[in-house]
Structures are given as C-alpha cells and as structure tokens.
Symmetry: C2
Subunit: 208 residues, 2 copies
DNA sequence: ACACTTTTGAACCGGACGGTTCATTTATCG
DNA sequence: CGATAAATGAACCGTCCGGTTCAAAAGTGT
C-alpha cells in the first residue's frame, strides 16, 4: 500500500462514482468510498471538502469520461458516401452500445434520481452531454440532407426522433438497465429504428 | 385533528409516496412521513412493520393508482373509423399527458433510482404498468392493421416505436421531469410522432 | 540529511435515524 | 356505559454517519 502524493484525487472521484452508482447518494457513506479508493477518510475531506461537492465532482468527472464516447459514435456518419442505411445502422449500433455502457447508465440514473437535490448538475451535465450528442447528430443529418441523401428541413427533429427510436425501446428491453441486452438484440433494435426512420426521412417519400 | 380508526393506512401510503418522491428513499425519514400523513410514528410501524415494506407498499399503491390512467389514454383508439391520424394524435396526446403527470414521473424516477435495492418492485411494477400499456397499444394497432387502416405485421414493434417517438423526446424537453412542458409543446411532439409513425406504418408506403 | 507537505489511522463529536416501549387518550361496538 | 382495540406523544436505545482533530508516519524537494 503506497503512500504519498500519487493521483489520490482521481482515485477518490472514481471510487466515489462507483459507490454512488452502486448504492445511491443517500445510502453511500464516505467511509465506504474511502475504503473503495484505498484512502483514508480525512484525505477525502482534504481534497474535496464535502460529501455534496464530492458527489458533484465525481459526477462531473464521470460525465467528462463518457461524453467523448457518445460523440465518437457519430464519427463515421461524417463521410457517408451513398449507403445512408448502412451508415445510420452503424452509428445507431454504436450509440446503443454507448447508451448501454454501465458508466453511462449509472450517470443517467444518478442524475435522474438526484435531480431535485442537485439541479445545477442536471443543467451542467445534461446540457454538456445529451445536448452535445443531439446537436452533433443534427449536424450530421443536416449534411446528409444537403447532399440529397436525406429529406428533411428540420434536422433537429430528425435527430430527436432517431435518438428516440434508438433509446426508447431500450428502457423496456433492458428493464431500466438491470438486464444486459445481448448484442444481437441491440442490432435488431438499431435496424428497426433505421427502418422506420428512413421510411420517414428517405428521399422519395410522400409526407412533408 | 381527528383520531381513531379512519383510513390511516391509505393516508400513510400516500404521504409516504409523496415524501419518497420528494426526498428519495434514503433521505426520507419515517418521522417526516408520519408528520406528512398527520399520524404518529408508531402507527406507521403498526400498519407496516418496516421502512422497506412501507416503501414497497407505497410504490405499489401509487402504481395501481396510475396504471388505469395510462390505459384509459388508449380507449378512444378502440373505435377509430377511418381517420387514423386524428385517433393516433389524440391517443398520443393523452399518453403524453399521462407520461408528464407528476405521480407517474415520480414513480418512474423512484423505480429507476432504487432498482438495485428493490429488484422485485422493478419486475412487479414495470411488468404491471409499462408492459400492460405496451400490450394494450399493440392490441389496438393490430386491430387497425386488420381493418386495413395500418400496415404492419408486427404490432409489438409498432407499439414500441410509437411509444418511443412519443416519450423519447420528452426526456430532453422536460429536463428529466424538472421542467413543466406546456401543452402546446406536448401537442407538437405528439403530432411529429404521428407524422413519422404514419410515414412508416400507413398503408401505401414502400418499405416492408 | 533536512525541512515541509501530505497521508494515515484512530478516536471523537453532535446529530439524525430506524425501531421500540409505555402509559394515556380516543374511538368503536355491544 | 363499559370493554376492547387502536392511536398518540414522548421518551428511549443502539447505531451509523458526516465531519473534525491530532499525533505519528511517509513521501518530496533541496
């Protein structure tokens, strides 16, 4: 058990998030977090003065860790030549993987559960994470629409509905995150989502 | 302040749910619930022996209260003559109202937050509530398909996607339930959902 | 080797909470 | 009215938790 000034802070934040995710905010005690981090209790209060700020910082760190993953899922949507369906299915599958990632799920669950006690976190993370993802997807879809590969004049709505078709069905299928959904089912959900999305947004449809 | 044997039990369960919804399970103390219910603390332990069973029973009661509302939203889908769009929009709007109802939101939030500590509740309520709603909607859609008013051979998938198109966009717009969404926005979401749903499921489309 | 900072363990404090006990009061019912 | 059952308030117990204190130990820079 080494002592001294290693990156205790990061270990603390990581252990804190892990414990909060496992037990919830109110049921987690700082003793347990200290044990999980392999650190003495006063060390926690030295680095972060408070259980509340400990929670906030742990959440912010976890959000920062997970936000890149989500955006990365949209990268191969950038250079779709003509097979829109394949590109959307691939991006959809990656988004679903990100959505089912344990850390991502825990983050959403904690954010949802403690939204009343930490309203600032809600704005900060929700804006920084979900909103970024939404906007990035809307940008990609707008590009595809400009190229004539998609038909929409409201890429924001299109992004909203694509994400809904992807993540909506997961709540039920994963039983709110308590069941691990096999990859084949993920692919099937993604395929169905792309199917109906393209019915509405592929060039050559009937609806405005 | 009347004493004696009135329906204390129901008052307790209602106050318990209200408090749990406001503070979360771990942060709620039985003293506060007793005060909220206008009842002495031992009375709670007489009727329900434990904080955990108090939580369980309060959740079950709230679920029972809210499940009927959800199913009722689908009633006018039973006798749609030919204007499928109007019927779906009406049902969608009612579903959104139910989804945004404070008790319904609190129930989902608590279920989601304490899913790890009360796994049985998750199965019980999720099955009894969301699953019922899903099945009922799938039934209605299957009837419409039989009448030739809809085109699908997988009404379960259609129901899943219709619900996703309705409730998915709400998570962002309501900021996880912390913002009250005006009715006009609800109607707009419902209209958009019906638009793309009908693009995929109206008779006379291209996709299989 | 030296002074300086950080970490550690352990003990400690005040408060809150879950749950119980009990004597007293209140309503219900024959 | 009298007996029975339920509700009350208040005190109580053991426990756990957030947060602090402190002296000793371990690491760091020169």
């Amino acid at each position: 058990m080494p002592r001294g000034r290693v990156d205790k802070r990061q270990a603390i934040l990581q252990a804190a998030f892990k414990t909060f995710a496992r037990e919830g905010y109110g049921q987690s005690c700082v003793r347990e977090i200290a044990a999980e981090a392999g650190v003495a209790k006063p060390t926690i209060y030295n680095h972060l003065g408070d259980k509340e700020t400990l929670f906030r910082e742990a959440m912010r760190a976890a959000a920062g860790r997970t936000v890149g993953q989500g955006l990365a899922a949209l990268d191969q949507l950038r250079d779709v030549q003509n097979d829109v369906r394949a590109g959307l299915e691939d991006a959809g599958h990656r988004l679903l993987l990100h959505h089912c990632d344990e850390e991502s799920q825990a983050l959403r669950r904690l954010l949802h559960a403690e939204a009343a006690r930490f309203p600032e976190l809600l704005e900060l993370i929700q804006q920084e994470s979900a909103r970024h993802l939404h906007d990035a997807l809307a940008d990609r879809l707008a590009r595809l629409a400009l190229s004539g590969l998609l038909r929409t004049n409201d890429p924001d709505l299109a992004a909203e509905q694509f994400l809904a078709l992807l993540t909506g069905p997961m709540e039920l299928r994963s039983r709110l995150g308590t069941r691990k959904v096999p990859d084949a089912e993920l692919r099937a959900v993604g395929r169905s989502a792309v199917d109906t999305f393209l019915c509405a947004y592929a060039p050559g449809s009937v609806d405005a």
